[in-house]
């Protein structure tokens, strides 16, 4: 199955299989990746699934919609690579992608 690697802020790596179409937040929750809480269940309401999608994959995903973009403007530890993983669905183009997690989510 397609792989995504989540890297905790302390450097611990978690490579997990993600079925196509599944949200990366749900994949992280399914594999108990520390640092992804997903408290609102993935409805783009809480930003507790914030991660940095490595630059190489930024153009492989749709740009953030308005609600995600607005939340990203006020998350702790923002970066140009910031995304909410609940808004990213697994696709062929994302196979091998790396998502690093912010310090605020430790």
């Amino acid at each position: 199955m397609p792989l995504i690697t989540f890297i905790e802020h302390n450097g611990t790596e978690h490579s997990v299989d993600v079925p196509l179409g599944q949200s990366l937040m749900q994949a992280a929750l399914n594999h108990s990746v520390p640092g992804i809480l997903g408290d609102c269940g993935g409805c783009c309401a809480c930003a507790t699934c914030h991660g940095y999608l490595d630059a190489d994959w930024q153009d492989k995903v749709p740009a953030p919609a308005d609600d995600e973009r607005e939340l990203l403007e006020v998350v702790l530890d923002p970066s140009v690579e910031s995304r909410l993983t609940c808004q990213l669905s697994m696709s062929e183009a994302l196979i091998g992608a790396v998502i690093r997690l912010p310090e605020s989510q430790t």
Partner: protein
Amino acid sequence: MLDRPINPNNHKKKVSMSLSSASPAGVLIVGTGQAGAEVASALRQGGYDAPITLLGQEPHAPYRRPPLSKDYLAGKAGRDQLYVKPAEFYERQRIELRTGHRAIALDRERQQVRLETGETLAYQNLVLATGGRPRRLQVPGSEADNLHYIRTLDDIDRLRGDFRAGAHLLVVGGGYIGLETAAVAIEHGLRVTLLESAGRLLERVAAPQLSAFYQQLHEQRGVRVLTGAQLLGFEGGRRIQIARTSAGDLAVDLVVAGIGLQANLELARDAGLEVSDAIHTDAHARTSDPRILAIGDCASFPSVHYQRRLRLESVQNAQEQARTAAATLLGEHKPYDPVPWFWSDQYGHKLQMVGLSQGYQQTVVRGDMASGAFTLFYLRDGQIVSLDSIDRPQDFMLGKRLVAARCPVSAEQLADLQVPLKALLPA
């Protein structure tokens, strides 16, 4: 400090089906809601190695409740999207998930829980995550097949059978459950009357401006809102046909009541644990018996932030209190004193709330109420105690930090869109 399990290596044993107490010790969690599921997974994440049993009355694996009155009722989300974890998660994490089992008695001396079947389960530590049940209507005629409550997946599946375009739905209760149900019903082509006994919608939780906003929103979409109106009874027997109210008789096809939640505390109360309207815990989720913890909708905890005991019905509370309970069981120190937050979706508008507004002295509107995107701040002694934010997610995010910081703010600054909220946070 809690006792650590004495037999951390016997997790592969099967739970005994006899009436003996030969079941493995470890942690027994009663309740498969989000709180129960979270404490189980947080324990494993924290390195807890002894057996974990997750026991619940519902026939389903843990699922998210908020979508029930929103996307699930609307048919926009299927069951698979509700489950907190995939089925294989529990096996992989060595969490014994036992659904469809009701715990009926707690023997604290023997450290056992007895099930309806007669089976007993022993525990080293017990976590009560028993949740709550909807308050039921008491008026004549309330035992009917087309009277529905909203709490479980099965409740919604049952409601669906009556939830047909053109049908006349009476919603009893103008709280969030009632309002969300009314919104989905309108979008589904039902005709909707909403009955609220108080003088306005959301009276218990929100300021009059917000009540007025939601009343107008619902009326614009076609809901007939009757406030200050009492339900007197139903007629029609098993199928309610007439609802008698102080505002007149209504011909109805189905009724949904959303009039509050009652904590499931009988197991704790009957075992002599300290309870009131909820199971009392300390900041570490421990009940008056330190081997037993309680979390989620069924528990109340001492809030330093609000300086009183709180029982919260929310996902935030279920998850964060569960993480505190897991920390306690792991011998860590993670006192629970949250800034509560909630959300509600109606007609495509996202309402996000932070804090509790009780005791506020003043409200301030940021944004334009007429445009439907605004935030209502509740102030007390020059600090923000809570806020209701509609379609302004940034206000919600920053509001969480503003409420937590308890920093002094002025009403003028809050109302001035030229002043970024970020600037009001302490450096």
